[in-house]
Symmetry: D2
Subunit: 432 residues, 4 copies
């Protein structure tokens, strides 16, 4: 191993600051861990712990790395944790050397709210998402996917002049935090469902939009009917899925089967697997889902409800698709753009049994969007809860039965709220 070069201590030392809910969002911990992990040392110059649950804490920390290279990398890693050095300078902007190609030291984004300093002013970065670069054009900073960068675009490089505000995990709102701690199948799902119901209702009450990401298991497991009810009740503002969800849903609507399995009898049915292709053929003959609904060919199911209510959906293609339906976007660059556009302004995402599309969606979300991920496989839930959002909840359960719970509880809750009014209006007599 090479010798560790001795360098002047001053050059290996920096003073950084951070403010916020540093303790309950576990940032303080992460900051100090990171310093140790990089074989560096810290000295706490000042730490004011918020005296109450509402007050911010603030930290001033001196870090000393074994060499200047490590210091630079350490500062780069502390930035997503909210640390910044003072006094600060403008962010370095360097031109992209070709379309889709940026300088080697480009700054790679997190999904947390970010500011870049240009001409002494802090510009908020638009379209925040992870694994993007930041381009500053006309005094506006925005996240761009690598492939969308155009030769000559001024790309933020290095780590100076960048401030990141990690989403602060809240301690008590809606009990969300208490759900986040563990991924276990040994939980009462009725309770988890009631919390998700509360969240859905809260988001709608606040005027927010809710996206659902749904895999075909929603249909196989008998959840289609309940998902349809959620749509009718107004809790679904956009659906992101793949070809398979729509095909299985249409197969079920037209023939009562899903991949040839009769969903009511549980047995494989006559003409079994062929129904899958017939569903595709039927929709494509009609010219697509919307037109199949309009012509009365498709009269029920998830896609029917979406079309009827003019709720936007995007079906992204994949290598395993049959057909596909003419509605499925097989150009994945276009599909990613449509997904991203559909997710604009969304404040809650429910992911139902599809790791593929859920990871795709997770990549596009800013960290303040709440995410609920439901799958019967704990490994999928763990993987998804670790990504995309600081406020992700994972629920390990049967997705069909879970949707049943959601629909039943929403129905009961709405009836409960409607009842007093009815009672008040109708006078007494509820007992008989």
């Amino acid at each position: 191993m090479p010798e560790v070069e001795l360098q002047d201590a001053a050059a290996r030392t920096e003073i950084v600051q951070a403010e916020g809910h540093l303790v309950d969002s576990r940032l303080l911990n992460a900051i100090l861990d990171k310093v140790i992990e990089r074989q560096s040392k810290f000295e706490v110059l000042r730490f004011d712990l918020g005296r109450t649950n509402e007050e911010f804490s603030s930290l001033e920390l001196k870090v000393t790395a074994p060499d200047t290279g490590t210091l630079r990398r350490l500062l780069e890693e502390l930035m997503p944790l909210g640390c910044y050095a003072r006094p600060t300078q403008d962010a370095a902007l360097r031109p992209a050397d070709a379309d889709g190609v940026v300088p080697d030291d480009f700054y790679s984004t997190t999904n947390h709210r970010t500011l870049v300093r240009c001409g002494g002013r802090w510009l908020p970065v638009a379209g925040q998402r992870m694994d993007a670069v930041i381009v500053v054009r006309d005094g506006q900073a925005a996240c761009l996917k690598l492939r969308d960068v155009v030769r000559g675009d001024p790309v933020v490089c290095g780590v100076a002049g960048i401030r990141v505000s990690p989403e602060f995990q809240e301690r008590d709102r809606l009990g969300f935090a208490f759900m986040t701690n563990d991924v276990s199948s040994e939980r009462r799902v009725e309770v988890s469902a009631s919390k998700v119901v509360a969240m859905l209702r809260q988001v709608k009450a606040d005027g927010g939009r809710i996206a659902f990401v749904a895999g075909p298991v929603v249909v196989h497991s008998g959840g289609g009917e309940y998902f349809g009810e959620l749509i009718r009740r107004g809790y679904v503002d956009v659906v992101l899925a793949g070809n398979a969800l729509a095909v299985h849903d249409v197969e079920h609507a037209l023939f009562g089967t899903s991949l040839g399995v009769d969903l009511d009898a549980g047995v494989t049915r006559e003409e079994g697997h062929r129904n899958h292709l017939r569903a595709i053929n039927t929709v494509n003959r009609a010219g697509g889902l919307r037109s199949a609904v309009e012509r009365g060919v498709l009269r029920s199911g998830v896609m029917y409800e979406l079309v009827t209510r003019d709720i936007p959906y995007v079906l992204a293609g994949s290598i395993r698709d049959d057909g596909p339906l003419v509605d499925t976007e097989m150009d994945l660059v276009a599909a990613q753009e449509q997904y991203a556009r559909a997710l604009e302004g969304v404040s809650m995402v429910v992911m139902l049994s599809t790791m593929l599309h859920s990871i795709g969606v997770g990549n596009m979300l800013a960290s303040h969007v709440r995410t609920v991920c439901v799958d019967i496989n704990p490994a999928v839930v763990t993987k998804l809860s670790d990504r995309g959002s600081a406020q992700a909840v994972g629920i390990v359960t049967d997705v069909g039965l879970f949707l049943h719970q959601l629909a039943t509880q929403l129905r009961a809750r709405e009836a409960e709220l409607a009842a007093p009014a009815a009672q008040a209006a109708g006078g007494g007599g509820a007992d008989r």
Copy 2:
């Protein structure tokens, strides 16, 4: 590799016969596979395929092994598949050389109905179970666990004079067979539940007994209430479990928590984990579960329902037990005997989220007992469905929600059956 010794073909050849539903029970297949697997050859002397679904098939097969040792072992392996050689001789009986110790060539049982030939007569073997030995005393043949053999007991050895009747898988009864094919979480559980409901009702209508094997996840996942309803409705004739089921159930009944988690609020509660020990302390102070119920200390929950209805239960101890409750049998030899006794005459077993106790029970069952195994982990379901019963069904789902389904469907079904009577009584004419 050693040379294969050439032996007189006659000594390496045997003619075996088998009758029954050889095709639909996959026995024909298994028999021929086994011959090939042992580097032997077969010649089909006669095969009459049952002309209809009801008729038996019958097979006469000449097998030739590479040597007499292989032939002997092959015949030994064909026996559990229903093959027997003619003309037959009496089974060899040899005395156990010590308590719990048998001759080296003892016959090790399967869980299929078995006959042994003694004095020219075929004796049915009592207490059929797998991994036992057969002892013939006073003209009675019976399965004995190795440890129950007494020095001098006449133990069946070798393979001559033994006939095994593998359970024939039925093609169509109650749709059971169609459920057995795959273990997948991508199924509509409402449909599986409706089949289990039909089975439960059928077994009770036939006067059969139903055993439930239940792990503590039944309580954690909120299924206790629904399990209690099954008990009250009369579908539970015996419960086999461990210390943990009872402790968690009592903890829930007394304090509303399970391992400190509030089952209604889904959050860890004040006094959390201590409730677990308090539950044990409270029951033990009362002198056990029965007495806790009698004294009014325990007023709800699974154990309360069982005690109140005088339904037998056995709690077997394990190395991970806290406490234990004074009701828990910590002597595992005694616990195995109590389990086995409780299972006598049972015709259906439902296994709920406990691999440990379910394997224990599976070991004790004859193959004609129907088994339904429910777990959220597909590996557990696969493992249990492969054992213990030729007619095992596996369902991969959330056990709490599954019990909810069972209780709801049983309730609806009983209401439905009760309704026409009511209608008939009340006149009306709902049909048009």
Copy 3:
């Protein structure tokens, strides 16, 4: 329930025939089960069981359905099991009504070898795969994906004039069949690996081509190095993957990390996640993988080995892709076509930890292609083993350690084979 219409028995009855290894391929069983499942009856007119393991069996069966509609559907379902009616007629050909749209009663293919009768001759169907339609043009029959059908194409409809030859499962070759029985993690992987090694060597000895389908876990789990060795030793003829495999592999080759985790130290590294994007940026600046290798930018790893040895690979895009690399095909219709083309003539496929691409590949394979599927998740292995090939083997294990086993065993086996020659040539003295 509706009344079952009584119909003339003759119209509800058909005589079908089948030949082949009907017992060991479980077809006899499946045929009879299917008849019962459809509420129909069978009468065995003739069944000749092959007298030895090599001889075919043959069956003549009279089936009677409750009505003519059921009979038609039953015959349709018996066809993939090898049953056909005599005397036979030509297959019905009807023109596609629009591009990508076929008549409603189109015949939907299985992945088994198929013949269609046209002008009294039986034409073999080219490009056999599941879920396709059969088009007959210029006296040639071929599978076409729905989307590739052109208006006016003569499409095979109904079930008359079609013969399917289900792949007969072999009893003993290479022990393959014995591996297929169960998916369990409780197996000695060293032994499974040695069987896969024997298969790989056999296929190459027979001049066959081997495809690998590989997910990024191959790299995360440290298997890249061993996969590279398999490539160098000549056991990899084509690689089908996604963007992520290549990106992680390049990230590891350039920076030693995979998603920012240092594969040698197991810790997240400085500059962590950014390396992922840097890898993409670096390759894209070079103009793609091939050119990155040619310019000396990329000097090791899986993609390097493939490029250097001119082994074809296809990277299919997906909704979750970062970048992508310019080599990744984001048009999924094109990607599916490239996959299908790359799979032509392949006789063995090894699927490594990617459900998405493996299902895609499975859809494209004829049933005689052998498939080995390796994943640490038993649910994935079960799902993949149930598809795509009658001869699929599933192995539940760590893919990195499994590749280590494959490489080590192949190396040892080749050294073993080389050794005697060397010894013979060099004379004695090996010991020192």
Copy 4:
């Protein structure tokens, strides 16, 4: 909901203190979360963050609960997090009212080091483990299982006079902390293995004892041979297991099979399942494992190595046991005591593919014992890593291949260390 009773603020308020590595052990976080979770308020009177990684932090916190009952429960819950109130009083001691029965307000232990105040002095509690009670006899405080309490024993009740020292998670030692973060199968197991190798060597270098908890999968998966090598190399000081490990190991040693599967050929063997019972019969005839080794009946395998080297082992019975071996302790109270005794003084535990015995062991460990848990099922690893030890590491992989890695790396490491000496002795000196 009931009205919250208003109480005098002073009675609902307490000042608590805590010292230690409050940030890196996540205690500060947990303390503040707990206050909020209980609908209480906190005010930070003082918080001194350790200025460097080595310095302790210290906290003085004023908590105000909505009522005195909640305050009492909150203080009870803050205690395991290291909080204590000042000035402090003696712990309350109250007599057990019957054998195995304690007062309702007994103090239930955690697995962290604990002190109780008696007569003004702080007594350390011996035999620390979770879910026990503390009895003070003759000026000595000790953990007792509930069942071991004798009528009249002075039992610590309430929460006053108790101090708990939660194990402080260390940031950097041996990289252990960095392994603890996630349970994922997408990791390079060679690296995890190398860290476990380093830990094993470190513990032995420090003179520590290492316990292994092993399930029968160790044998099924081919790991027995490598586990044997670990024993021979001196890394195994005690083995805790069940009947099945020993039976499968003996079956493999005597007949080459494990549950009838030939471990070298991977196929089910002639006489298959019977070997399992034969193994039990053979050992029991010999009078047990030790005597089977002494008489030359048992000549290889894990149990052989243990007996030969006089390494203690405990085999605990379970409800699913066949046999059992005469060595298996079927009285589970005795088995738990033997386990606990065997674990005395152990500083590291490796748990190999047995949830049952691992949970049992986890219950008995103080929190400073390091635990490594290896299983192919991520749910098992998650469950075990969450228990028993603040310093648990989970590794999701194939246990057979993992043991192969451990043995190979330990062998290489020891050869490497032996080599320089040899080189030095033999002259040479390639490097310099």
